[in-house]
């Protein structure tokens, strides 16, 4: 009853606006969330509405629709106060919040088709022209996971010998990239772009904008499978980058099964054993970082990276290969690789005053990434290990399979405590843990904030806590 009544609270319209903002005004995601949600009183859990002009306009529209429907109800009674009109008015009042939830998307669709899309077309067209005249080498990074890390590794390594620019944060949409392009000076020697993909054709559109000459494919997996519907479509979309570049250099992450299988003759495979002519030897990893020797002909580069996990070696080796092809010296490459530090929310370590080390991997929400970090945890000795997760999102029909596999990996790695957030995904992890006779402890919490509040009281000096993925509110 309380859940039903939550639609009649003043905060309801703000919650709708917040969710549109949280889904980046993706009508499909919003409608799916709205159809699934029963209780609207606990929507803003992890974040809250940021009062941007766009959000305020949407909120005002929501009020206009809601008040308009209520005015309609009053009007019905006012014009003809017969029982039928009174019943109809009551029905309008009852239905008003439900109708507002859906009617709100109508003006958004109108604005999108009549204003936003034409405007975007004009902006990207202008940006494409700017980029066509830019003399810098354009490198594009595509993949279901690891794009931002790859982009940053390249940016840091290549900067040892070239003037490099790359969009900040996760700017990987046409508008985000266009904003970056408008800020270029024209003197950059290398530009690195991250290409985001949500639907088939997305990577091709971005290639039309960027016109890359070198491509890096970081992997293909179940990320956004809910939107792609099949892994084949995901792979085809990501390999739109290879289609665009044609015979140019394409580096493919061989540690991603699906990417390796989609690679074509002539593509350069990189993994923890090396990339192209660059071979990796004597690799080891731990909480202090990852060490290995990179050999290239007779040259031996001693790499001591701050990145955690053997799975980081492949992208580092790929960056060395790209840098070498662009003429950087071995010493520059070595300095660049050693300068790379963990990226925000991606296996980012922090040891607090109580001696507990937290590995923040909250931006890593894909099966390959999860497998890699569990493998890393398995390597760590003499520490009590906590694995905290709400599971992975947008896994579509493969959700059960993906999460059971995570459970099996955790059991194999011998993790001491698995902290699970109650949702649709984590029961599969628990099921697989129990089936694998997991010897550690499974702890359940109702939501992320409750688990995060509990962690300081569960841990002691020397413990390692891995935070795997974070569920945005639209998936709660």
């Amino acid at each position: 009853m309380n859940a039903w009544l939550s639609r009649y609270r003043p905060r309801y319209l703000r919650s709708l606006t917040y969710m549109l903002q949280a889904t980046e005004y993706d009508i499909g995601d919003y409608v799916e969330w709205y159809g699934r949600t029963r209780d609207f009183s606990r929507v803003e859990q992890r974040k809250s509405l940021v009062k941007t002009p766009k959000a305020l306009v949407v909120l005002a529209l929501a009020w206009v629709i809601e008040l308009g429907l209520l005015a309609l109800a009053v009007g019905l009674v006012w014009t003809d106060n017969v029982p039928f009109c009174r019943v109809l008015a009551l029905a309008v009042v009852i239905v008003a919040p439900f109708a507002t939830g859906y009617l709100l998307v109508v003006p958004l669709l109108v604005v999108r088709f009549l204003i936003q899309q034409p405007l975007e077309w004009l902006i990207t067209r202008k940006s494409r022209k700017i980029l066509m005249q830019h003399p810098g080498l354009k490198i594009a990074v595509a993949g279901s996971f690891g794009k931002t890390s790859m982009r940053e590794i390249l940016r840091i390594v290549l900067a040892e010998g070239k003037r490099v620019a790359a969009p900040p944060h996760s700017y990987n949409t046409p508008l985000g990239i266009s904003r970056f392009i408008r800020g270029l000076s024209g003197e950059e020697e290398v530009l690195i772009f991250e290409l985001g993909e949500y639907y088939p054709g997305d990577v091709r559109k971005l290639c039309q904008l960027v016109n890359p000459q070198v491509g890096i494919i970081t992997g293909v997996n179940e990320a956004h499978l809910g939107k792609f519907k099949s892994l084949d479509r995901t792979a085809a979309t990501i390999f739109e980058l290879a289609d665009w570049i044609g015979g140019g250099p394409i580096y493919v992450n061989g540690e991603s099964d699906l990417a390796r299988k989609s690679a074509r003759p002539g593509h350069l495979i990189y993994d923890r054993d090396g990339a192209g002519d660059w071979q990796v030897k004597n690799a080891s990893t731990g909480l202090e970082g990852t060490k290995f020797t990179l050999t290239h002909g007779k040259e031996h580069l001693s790499i001591s990276s701050h990145l955690l996990g053997l799975h980081q070696i492949g992208p580092l080796a790929a960056a060395a290969a790209v840098a070498s092809s662009l003429g950087l010296t071995d010493r520059q490459i070595e300095a660049g690789l050693n300068a790379v530090t963990p990226f925000e929310h991606r296996m980012q370590p922090r040891t607090d005053s109580t001696g507990v080390t937290t590995l923040d991997d909250s931006y890593n929400g894909n099966p390959d990434g999860a497998r890699a970090v569990i493998s890393f945890l398995g390597e760590i000795q003499d520490h009590r290990r906590f694995y905290v997760t709400p599971g992975l999102v947008e896994m579509g029909k493969r959700s059960a399979q993906v999460h059971r596999e995570i459970g099996r990996e955790l059991a194999r790695a011998g993790i001491e405590r698995v902290v699970l957030i109650r949702d649709s995904a984590t029961p599969f992890i628990a099921e697989a843990l129990e089936a694998a006779h997991f010897k550690g402890e499974i702890m359940w919490y109702d939501d992320g904030p409750a688990a995060f509040a509990a962690l300081p009281h569960l841990t002691v000096a020397g413990d390692v806590v891995l935070l795997q993925n974070d569920w945005p509110d639209q998936y709660s």
Binding site: S353, G355, W444, A454, H457, L458, V460, G462
Partner: protein, 385 residues
């Protein structure tokens, strides 16, 4: 089925606010984090009214300056003693809740001095921490010395007197202090914790004022000789019969005062007791650490402590002499930062303390306190007793 745990805090004491912090950090938060307990916050106002509402499980409730007004709109909770402790909320939607365990979190007067423990013993409910007798002994710094010294646990030289002695025997008291003790001195209220109203006195002219300050807060005052080449350390201990020792901890400040302990937490707002004011473990020799551990065990047992207590020691760094300073039966925030460094998490700490409370309760219940007598039949006769 989760165990219902009543956490009693607040109260008519100078340490009211500290008590609120301890109740939440770590007690209620750790009880919640464990997933095994259903904590019920029982808050006693400064005027002595008892309230219980699970909204108070959040420390944020007490950060609202208007929280007394919010509570004033509620009806105080009622207690039923006898077959355990039952909370009752009167009114149209009345309800009651029997507590499985009580976790006292009241520092100082009425809470830490044994008063609350007496109530809980009468109620017949397991409760965490020291019992009535050991709490009462530890609360009185003079009584603590009088119990521990004969057992070979050293104390610094001291003089004590009561508020009623002071106006009539002022000259005698000052003469005794001059004769027995060497400056500088510490003047302390005997029953207060959290270092409230403790003054260090460097000369006779400061002494009387310091005594007046201490008497403002207490009716019994102790004047102790200061250890000048001082290393101050503290040791939390947990257990009933089998004892578990945390780490010997060394404060960085000259002596623990209220502000050092609770207010200078820097940005570590959620850590409760300040965890940046000490060396953990203490920077002392293994031999001294072993001596502190040995005296800690002896002192803990000498007052009959159970559950947990924190023992403070003074070390003369020139002579390596170790003195027991005082025993605290409800360490601020349970000294969970120390336990955490010793490998015991907040959840493990509260879980173990609840188990110890239940263990002691079972032992107590197994004792025989009543017997059948014929005395009532003969009362009124020619001779009784």
């Amino acid at each position: 089925m989760k165990k219902t745990v009543g956490v009693i805090f607040g109260g008519r004491t100078t340490e009211h606010d500290v008590s609120i912090i301890t109740a939440h950090i770590p007690i209620i938060q750790a009880l919640e984090a464990s997933g095994q307990f259903d904590p019920w916050p029982i808050y006693i106002t400064k005027s002595g009214l008892w309230y219980c509402d699970q909204a108070m499980n959040k420390l944020e409730f007490f950060k609202n300056p208007d929280y007394p007004a919010v509570l004033a709109k509620q009806k105080p909770v009622q207690l039923s003693l006898g077959d355990g402790l039952t909370l009752s909320w009167p009114g149209l939607r009345s309800k009651s809740l029997k507590l499985d365990v009580v976790f006292p979190s009241m520092h100082g007067t009425y809470g830490e001095d044994g008063t609350l423990m007496g109530l809980l013993r009468l109620a017949g409910v397991p409760y965490v921490g020291c019992d009535l007798e050991s709490s009462a002994i530890a609360m009185d710094k003079v009584l603590t010395k009088q119990v521990t010294e004969p057992l070979g646990i050293p104390s610094v030289p001291y003089v004590w007197f009561t508020a009623s002695d002071w106006p009539t025997q002022r000259a005698d008291i000052l003469a005794r202090i001059t004769k027995r003790l060497q400056y500088p001195l510490f003047v302390k209220p005997v029953h207060l914790g959290s270092s409230i109203a403790i003054t260090k006195v460097g000369s006779p002219k400061e002494l009387e004022n310091a005594i007046e300050v201490a008497l403002h807060y207490d009716d019994k005052v102790i004047v102790e000789q200061s250890v000048e080449d001082l290393i101050e350390v503290t040791l939390p201990i947990m257990g009933n019969d089998e004892l578990t020792l945390a780490l010997v901890e060394q404060p960085v400040a000259k002596f623990f005062d209220f502000e050092e302990k609770y207010l200078k937490g820097g940005g570590k707002k959620s850590s409760g007791a300040n965890s940046e004011y000490s060396h953990l473990p203490a920077q002392i020799s293994d031999k001294l650490t072993a001596r502190v551990n040995e005296l800690g065990r002896a002192a803990y047992r000498s007052i009959g402590a159970s559950g947990t207590a924190r023992l403070d020691f003074l070390i003369d760094s020139k002579t390596n002499q170790v003195y027991l300073n005082e025993i605290n039966t409800l360490p601020g925030s349970l000294y969970h930062h120390n336990w955490q460094a010793a490998g015991i998490s907040g959840v493990d700490l509260v879980t173990k303390l609840v188990a110890l409370a239940e263990e002691r309760f079972r032992d107590t219940e197994a004792k025989t306190y009543t017997f059948n007598s014929e005395i009532l039949k003969v009362v009124g006769g020619p001779k009784l007793g």
